[in-house]
Amino acid sequence: MRLPAAAWAFVAPATLVVGVFFVLPVLAGFALSVTDFDIYSLASLRNLRFVGIDNYLDLLGTPLFWQALGNTLYFVAVGVPLSIGLSLGCALLLHSRLARFQSFFRTALFAPVVTTLVAVAVVWRYLFQTRYGMVNHALAQAGIDPIDWLGDPHYAMPTIILLAVWKNFGYNMVILLANLQTIPDDIYAAARIDGASPLQQLWRITLPILQPTLILVGILTTAGYFQLFAEPYVLTQGGPLRSTVSVLYFMYEEGFKWWNFGTASTAAVLLFLLIFAVTRGLARLSGREAAA
């Protein structure tokens, strides 16, 4: 059509918003990461200096940053496989011809996804309370001693992982289920005639067909899990002994508690590079140029 002007009028508002309030700040974020922007620069830009890669060197020499990195990697390395495994398991169960009340089960299993994270984190705090919490009460029935879930550095991160997995698995479950429903039944019929057991059908037919989707949700979930923030903020405030400080939590404190925008931007850039490298690596590893 010969309507470039009209077409531009249609894209202009959205493009302007995305450009000014997203792309520009992202670029500025990279720029901030090589400055010493702090609370004094907030008052006057005259106090702003270019410091090159000093922030990066400083950060790599900061034990708490490494701890935050370690905590985040722990959360991702355990949380993502658990999450996707549960999503896949539930999708397969729901897809089974033997499953009853499928739409009820699907809705119920998906419900945590739409809930407000802060609200369910508050619920989690009481469920995992050492003395009166339901979880320890249930464990006591099995003869297990009470666990100090949120007060013991060994258990705090696992508690957060449980919350994240509980809240998120429904999302990928729905995506995988939709993928399962596109597999034609006659493939399975043919396999049965050839004498393939249900396990063989799963291994030889279902999983290979699901593989591209599994890789995609794996990459998206990994990228999302690296951005851990609200769970530790509400549940543990980064404790105990800083065992649940994530990179983003570290960034938030540097930036919006101490107003060290330079250091905070450096942490954000490093997190971005890490997410980029890991998701690229996953895509490469799976031998596929996935969209992420």
Binding site: M1, L3, P4, A6, A7, W8, A9, F10, V11, P13, A14, V17, V18, F21, F22, P25, V26, A28, G29, F37, L93, L94, S96, L98, A99, F105, A108, L109, A111, P112, V114, T116, L117, V118, A119, V120, V122, V123, R125, Y126, L127, G133, V174, I175, A178, A223, Q227, A230, Y233, V234, Y252, G255, F256, F261, A264, S265, A268, F272, A291, A292
Partner: protein, 273 residues
């Protein structure tokens, strides 16, 4: 015989998983009707002995909850309405109109989709401060007036609109904006419903940005207020559960009512480019 064991196993597992996924929500609801201190007894009770509304009454009168609720509702509604219009216009233009630089601009947007927003947070804060939008509703609404994801969602759906329809309307002499409002928007209605739902829930549930931008107590949204309330009132479990119910219930109800649209949006959005 073999089949019946498998049936029991599969459905048993589903029941078990459903219990796990619903228990925290039902427990939250149950405790919200308990008297103060009732949940902190041994053994921990599952149901309230004498259900009471006192926690909700306290939230209404003392907690400032009505205000936070109104803030959340107002912000999510405005963000949804404005971004829906901008995203619909852009998504439609990317799919059905031609202009110079179109392909390049769209590719650039898709490329930017993978950038996590945190890199932008500090500069965005400074930018909004410059505009005087920090500590105001504008600080939440303005950056959210359009989203790459929303544009992408609409574009994917709009691709299926036949060109002949547009040509016919143009021959009839309809202006471009009129075509958009009268013909395109009704055709896009299903995906716009999905996008509206995803945007509203996303905005309602958002935590980090409102936490950063809205320091004034009177402007806070429900999640931010709930988080600070839970730090101050850690002992009042029953009250906190009522606060959580008030926060979660609206989005759950919306989801149950419009589930079909929510799932569709999620599925279109997950299959990139």
């Amino acid at each position: 015989m073999k089949t019946s064991i498998a049936t029991i196993l599969i459905n048993g597992l589903l029941v078990g998983l459903t219990v796990v996924s619903l228990f925290p929500l039902l427990w939250m609801l149950s405790v919200s009707f308990m008297h103060a201190g009732e949940a902190s007894m041994l053994p921990p009770p599952l149901l309230p002995q004498a259900p009471t509304l006192e926690n909700y009454r306290e939230l209404l009168t003392r907690g400032g909850m009505p205000r936070y609720f109104a803030n959340s509702f107002l912000l999510a509604s405005v963000v949804t309405l404005v971004s829906l219009l901008f995203n619909a216009m852009a998504g439609y233009a990317f799919a059905k109109l031609q202009f110079t630089g179109q392909a390049r601009l769209f590719r650039a947007m898709m490329g930017a989709l993978v950038i996590p927003g945190q890199v932008a947070m500090m500069p965005l804060f400074l930018l909004l401060k410059q505009f005087g939008l920090v500590n105001s509703y504008g600080g939440i609404v303005v950056p959210a007036m359009a989203s790459i994801f929303g544009i992408f969602l609409v574009r994917q759906y709009a691709l299926s609109i036949p060109d002949a329809l547009l040509q016919a309307a143009r021959i009839d002499g309809a202006g471009e904006f009129r075509i958009f409002l009268r013909i395109i928007v009704p055709l896009l209605a299903p995906i716009l419903t999905s996008l509206a739902l995803l945007t509203f829930l996303g905005s309602w549930n958002d935590f980090m940005w409102p936490l950063i931008v809205l320091n004034d107590d009177r402007l806070q949204t429900l999640p931010v207020a709930l988080a600070s309330l839970s730090r101050e009132h850690a002992q009042d479990g029953e009250l906190m559960m009522a606060g959580s119910v008030v926060t979660v219930l609206p989005v759950l109800v919306l989801f149950f009512a419009l589930q079909k649209y929510y799932i569709r949006g999620l599925l279109v959005g997950s299959v990139k480019g």
